[in-house]
C-alpha cells in the first residue's frame, strides 16, 4: 500500500537511495534538500521515470520555521507524512581539542535537532492515523566512536537514545521508531577519505568492501514497511561485518 514518505537530505548519497527505494515501493516521496535543488530534481525525475510519485521540497531542517513550512508543503501536495526518514546529516570532523563550538553546534543541529523537529511535526497525523514509521540514519560512529568525529558520533548516538525513547512513547499508536546504522558506505561523504583510508576501511569489514547506498536503503525500506510492525526501538547495523 502506498504511503506518503519524507526523506530529509534526500538529494544525495544514502538519502537519495532511500528516496528512490521508497518510490519504487509505491510510496509518494518528498525529497528534501537544503541547497542542491538540482540534485533533488534529479532524484524526483528518477523516481517519476520509474513510475513513482515524488516532489522536491527545500528546507534547512535545522531551522524550526523551515521544518514547519516543509511539512505544510508536503501535506498539501502529497498528504500527511506517514513515513519519516531522518537522514539529513553533515560532518565537521576534527580532533576535539581543535573542534570549534560552531562545528559542534552545526553538526548537532543538522543531525540530531532536525530529527526532534521533524519527528514532532510528523507525529500529530501519525498518531491520529494510528500508523507511522520513523527511521533515522545513524552511524557505526555513534556506536563505536571514531577519532575526529566527537560531534558526529555524539549526534548519531543521540539519535539512538532519541529513537528508543520515542519508540516507547508512541508504540501503542501503531508507530515504530528505529535507527539504521551504516558502516563505510561509498558516498560523497566517504569519497573525501582517500584511497589508503578506503582500503583500510574495506579490509576492516567481513565482506571486504565498502557498502552501497542501496544496501542501506533496503534496510530502511524494510523498517518502513507494514511488515516491520513489531520491530521498534532498534538499531539495525548495516556495516558488512565491521570490526573496528
Amino acid at each position: 500500500m502506498g504511503r506518503v514518505a519524507l526523506v530529509t537530505g534526500g538529494s544525495r548519497g544514502i538519502g537519495r537511495a532511500v528516496a528512490e527505494r521508497l518510490g519504487a515501493a509505491g510510496h509518494a516521496v518528498a525529497v528534501n534538500y537544503s541547497r542542491r535543488a538540482d540534485a533533488a530534481d534529479e532524484v524526483v525525475r528518477s523516481i517519476r521515470s520509474a513510475g513513482g510519485s515524488a516532489i522536491p521540497v527545500g528546507a534547512d531542517v535545522s531551522e524550526v520555521e523551515a521544518v514547519a513550512a516543509m511539512f505544510e508543503t508536503v501535506g498539501s501536495e502529497l498528504g500527511q507524512v506517514e513515513i519519516l526518514i531522518n537522514n539529513a546529516g553533515i560532518t565537521r570532523d576534527g580532533l576535539l581539542l581543535r573542534m570549534g563550538e560552531e562545528d559542534w553546534d552545526r553538526v548537532l543541529a543538522v543531525n540530531l535537532k532536525s530529527a526532534y523537529m521533524c519527528s514532532k511535526a510528523a507525529l500529530r497525523s501519525m498518531i491520529r492515523g494510528r500508523w507511522g514509521r520513523i527511521v533515522s540514519i545513524g552511524s557505526v560512529s555513534g556506536l563505536s566512536g571514531n577519532p575526529g568525529q566527537a560531534n558526529y558520533a555524539a549526534s548519531k548516538a543521540g539519535l539512538i537514545g532519541f529513537s528508543k525513547s520515542l519508540a516507547k512513547e508512541v508504540g501503542s499508536r501503531g508507530i515504530t521508531v528505529n535507527v539504521v546504522a551504516p558502516g563505510f558506505i561509498a558516498t560523497e561523504m566517504t569519497e573525501g577519505l582517500g584511497e589508503v583510508a578506503v582500503n583500510a576501511a574495506s579490509e576492516s569489514t567481513s565482506v571486504g568492501r565498502l557498502g552501497t547506498p542501496g544496501e542501506v536503503a533496503s534496510a530502511v525500506e524494510y523498517l518502513a514497511a507494514d511488515d516491520a510492525s513489531y520491530i521498534t526501538g532498534q538499531v539495525l547495523v548495516v556495516d558488512g561485518g565491521l570490526a573496528l
Binding site: R124, I127, R128, E169, S172, R173
Partner: protein, 81 residues
C-alpha cells in the same frame, strides 16, 4: 458556545478520538483512573480540542489537566479569550 456545548463536543471527541465509552464520560471523571487514558491520550485529546475549537493550549496548562471537567474549564477559558 456555552458550557453544555463544549461538554457535548468534548464527549464526542473522547469517543471518536480515544475510543472511550460514552456512558463513562462525565465532568468528574479522571482521565487516568476512571477513563484509563494514558498521558499520550491526554495529548491526543488536546490536539483534537485545539483543532475542534480553534484554540491554542500551552504545555504548562495541559500538564495540569486531570479530569474531563478541568478540560472543559480550560476550553471555556480559552474561548472567552
Amino acid at each position: 458556545m456555552d458550557r453544555a456545548d463544549i461538554e457535548s463536543k468534548m464527549t464526542e471527541l473522547l469517543v471518536s478520538e480515544l475510543g472511550l465509552e460514552k456512558e463513562k464520560i462525565n465532568p468528574g471523571a479522571s482521565f487516568e483512573e476512571d477513563l484509563e487514558v494514558d498521558s499520550l491520550g491526554v495529548v491526543e485529546l488536546l490536539m483534537a480540542l485545539e483543532d475542534e475549537f480553534g484554540v491554542k493550549i500551552p504545555d504548562e496548562e495541559a500538564e495540569e489537566l486531570l479530569t474531563v471537567g478541568q478540560a472543559i474549564d480550560l476550553v471555556e477559558k480559552k474561548l472567552a479569550g
